[in-house]
Symmetry: C2
DNA sequence: TTTACATATTGACAATTCCCGAAATGTATG
DNA sequence: CATACATTTCGGGAATTGTCAATATGTAAA
C-alpha cells in the first residue's frame, strides 16, 4: 500500500472536501437513509449518493461530483454504482496508510 | 495545540516543500555543517540556513524563502536568526499534532 | 561608513484550482 | 422508444499558486 502524498494533500486542502471525508465517518448521522428506491437490496457499505452529499455541501452538483472524483483519485474514497446512483464511501485502507505515513515518514 | 489542517495540507501539496520537511529530519545527512562562521557558538537545534536548503532544492532563493515561509505559517517549521543567517528546523510539536489529527479525526 | 552577503519582499506572468452552468452520459420506467 | 432523473464531463471566468528576476532589508566585515 503506497500513497501519493502530494495528491492526498491537494485533495485535503479544501474545506468542503475535508468535510465530506469527515461526514462519511458516520453516514447515518450526517445523511438521510440511502438506497430507498433500489429494487434489489444491496449492501451499500455506508456509501452515500452524490445528491445527498451535494445537499449537505451546498454547492452545485458538478462541483461536488468533481470533489468526489478528486478524493477518489487520491485514493481516499471508493465508489460503487447501483442503478442511477453512485455511492461514495471512505477508503479506510488509504486513510490508515496516510496516518502511518504522517507518523513514520513525515 | 490545534492545527489548521487546510493550511497544512496546502503546505504539503508541493513536492519541494515535502522534501524540505523530510530533509530536515536528518540535517547532518542532508546538509553541510551549519553555523561555521558564527562568532559566538550557539545551539542551532538542527536548524539549516536558507542557502543550504536552496542549494539542495535547486530553485531560486526567493522561491525557497517563500516555501520556508509557507511551511512556517502552517506551523510545520520554526526559524531562528543568527547573524546573517536564518536557520529553519522542524516543529515536531505540530507534526506530532498532525499525525494525531489524521489518526483520530480524519 | 562602505561594501558584501544572506534573506525577505515585490511585481509579474504562467499554470493550476475553484466553482458554476450547460451539455452529455447512463439508467430505469412509462 | 421517450422521458425523467442521477451523475459526469466540458467550457469558462475568477481566484490562487508556482516561480522567477529585481529590489529591499538586515547584518557583518573591511
Amino acid at each position: 500500500m503506497d500513497i501519493d502524498m502530494i495528491e492526498i494533500s491537494k485533495a485535503l486542502s479544501n474545506e468542503t472536501r475535508l468535510n465530506i471525508l469527515k461526514w462519511l465517518k458516520s453516514p447515518e448521522e450526517n445523511f438521510p437513509p440511502q438506497g430507498g428506491c433500489l429494487s434489489e437490496p444491496v449492501d451499500l457499505k455506508g456509501g452515500v449518493c452524490v445528491s445527498s452529499i451535494q445537499a449537505k455541501a451546498n454547492l452545485s452538483p458538478s462541483t461536488v461530483s468533481n470533489y468526489l472524483d478528486t478524493l477518489q483519485r487520491a485514493g481516499l474514497l471508493l465508489s460503487e454504482r447501483h442503478g442511477k446512483w453512485t455511492y461514495y464511501r471512505r477508503n479506510e485502507e488509504t486513510i490508515k496508510a496516510l496516518a502511518k505515513f504522517v507518523k513514520k515518514e513525515l
